[in-house]
């Protein structure tokens, strides 16, 4: 049984949207993070790169931004500019999350 389970193909896993924050420097390197370790690094990098691009692009368009909020139907990403880097907050939205009164 042990051998069989060793040979068994690992089942694909659905990735939950993470809740937490992270700080990155101007190169996109993660300095600190409270995101769950189960959340894939490539997805963290994708978030960071897109957000840093948006800050830089805005500056080039003469629209310097201190904060970006990206609202998806299931996730809210808040990013604060930090001397070329950024501090990011990720908050999943669910139907059963307590709403604002």
């Amino acid at each position: 049984m042990g051998l069989l389970s060793f040979l068994k193909k690992p089942a694909p896993r659905l990735v939950s949207l993470p809740s937490g924050s992270l700080t990155v420097d101007r190169t996109g390197a993660v300095l600190a993070s409270t995101l769950p370790s189960s959340f894939p690094n490539e997805m963290v990098n994708a978030i960071v790169q897109h957000v840093l691009w948006a800050f830089r692009g805005a500056t080039e368009a003469q629209l310097p931004l201190a904060e970006l909020v990206i609202n998806y139907s299931s996730l809210k990403i808040t990013a604060r500019e930090l001397r070329g880097g950024a501090m990011l907050f990720l908050n999943p939205k669910t139907s059963h999350a307590p709403g604002k009164k």
Binding site: A11, P12, R13, L14, V15, S16, L17, M43, A46, I47, H50, W53, A54, G57, A58, E60, A61, Q62, L63, P64, L65, A66, E67, L68, V69, I70, N71, Y72, S73, S74, L75, P92, K93, T94, S95, H96
Partner: protein
């Protein structure tokens, strides 16, 4: 391939990484009364390539797949092919994923059927989805008018919360033991919110679990409420028909663009056009080309990111800066509204809702 002449035969694309399940479902779906053509794909990327090449009526997608999971596939499909009916199949009874699937605008979230009865119910739902017209009604489990949905819930003495979305607008109706007890839509509450929601002609709805703790704020019977909403809609139609015919000459209505630029705090409105560089600006903007390029690319970046994460529809991007604030919304090729920097984020959100209501009209 579809034989020539059989133009009404619908096509279903079935996506699962397990070939034995694909074959099993192909056999099950062959029992559908409308005899659709069933094609299969064993990965998300293959499914996207097939959708690019051929026209389908319905996509049925497993959630757990390697490399590109079902949420990522559905996220891309909902954005690129909004007219395509979509079903998410899963073996995971998980509330988080159910919620995420519906927030993507998927028509149906279904646990993989394991009994004959479940299979029959599933086939009925699929047949219903295959037969639906795209343009009218509310997209939820079945395409019905909102009045039908409320009536069904009330007649069956159900307790539930209906969440209804219509473009940028959204609302909720609380039903307890077959009576409408409360509603909210934006700043409106109770009866006013109920009437507002029922005036929407199309959208999506989702049934959420009952909320028995909700305090009753509507005391009329559901029949009375529905009658009132029908009267209000008739009156609105009458007013619309009479509009512009008073004083002899019709008044020229302001364009949505002009109306948006008159909202308090708006510095500029920039609407992108399809193509690489087209745009239209209302009010002064000193560098429209750069702003248009940033808006276009930001939307591309964050659409891509949303697809990668399976985070659902990109609703909007807000930027706060020392000189001005902006809101970017994925309307048409892209819409960017600039605000004076003194407008606070909460106010900006409320005003953007109003701006999008104008734009969506």
């Amino acid at each position: 391939m579809t034989p020539e002449g059989q133009t009404t035969r619908h096509r279903i694309l079935l996506v699962d990484d397990d070939p034995s399940l694909l074959e099993l479902y192909r056999q099950i779906f062959a029992q559908l009364p409308s005899s659709p053509e069933i094609l299969t794909a064993n990965s998300g990327s293959r499914a996207l390539a097939m959708l690019e090449a051929e026209r389908f009526r319905l996509l049925i997608c497993d959630l757990k797949m390697p490399k590109m999971d079902g949420l990522q596939v559905l996220s891309i499909v909902r954005r690129k092919y909004p007219e395509l009916r979509t079903v998410a199949l899963t073996a995971i009874p998980d509330e988080e994923f159910r919620s995420r699937v519906y927030s993507l605008g998927v028509d149906l979230f279904w646990h993989k059927p394991s009994t004959q009865q479940e299979t029959e119910m599933f086939l009925e739902c699929l047949e219903s989805l295959l037969g639906q017209e795209v343009d009218n009604g509310f997209r939820g489990v079945q395409s019905k008018s909102l009045v039908d949905i409320v009536q069904l819930e009330c007649l069956s003495q159900s307790s539930s919360v209906l969440r209804i979305a219509n473009g940028s607008l959204s609302g909720k109706i609380w039903i307890q033991d077959g009576e409408v007890v409360d509603a909210e839509a934006g700043e409106l509450a109770a009866e006013a919110a109920f009437l507002k929601i029922l005036s929407w002609r199309a959208g999506t709805f989702e049934t959420l679990p009952a909320d028995p703790a909700r305090q009753r704020a509507i005391f009329k019977s559901y029949n009375g409420l529905l009658l009132e909403s029908a009267q209000a809609m008739d009156e609105a139609r009458g007013e619309a028909a009479n509009n512009g015919h008073t004083n002899g000459a019709p008044a020229a209505p302001l364009s949505p663009f002009a109306q948006m630029s008159q909202i308090e705090g708006v510095e500029f409105v920039l609407a992108l056009k399809d193509g690489e560089s087209g745009h239209e600006v209302a009010r002064g903007l000193e560098n429209p080309e750069r702003m248009a390029a940033w808006t276009r690319q930001s939307l591309q970046h964050f659409h891509t990111l949303g697809d990668q994460l399976g985070a659902g529809r990109l609703e909007q991007i807000e930027g706060l800066g020392p000189q001005r604030n902006v809101t970017v919304a994925p309307r048409d090729a892209g819409l960017c509204v600039g605000w004076v920097h003194t407008v606070k984020p909460g106010e900006m959100r409320d005003r953007m809702k109003k701006a999008l209501e104008v734009w969506d009209c």
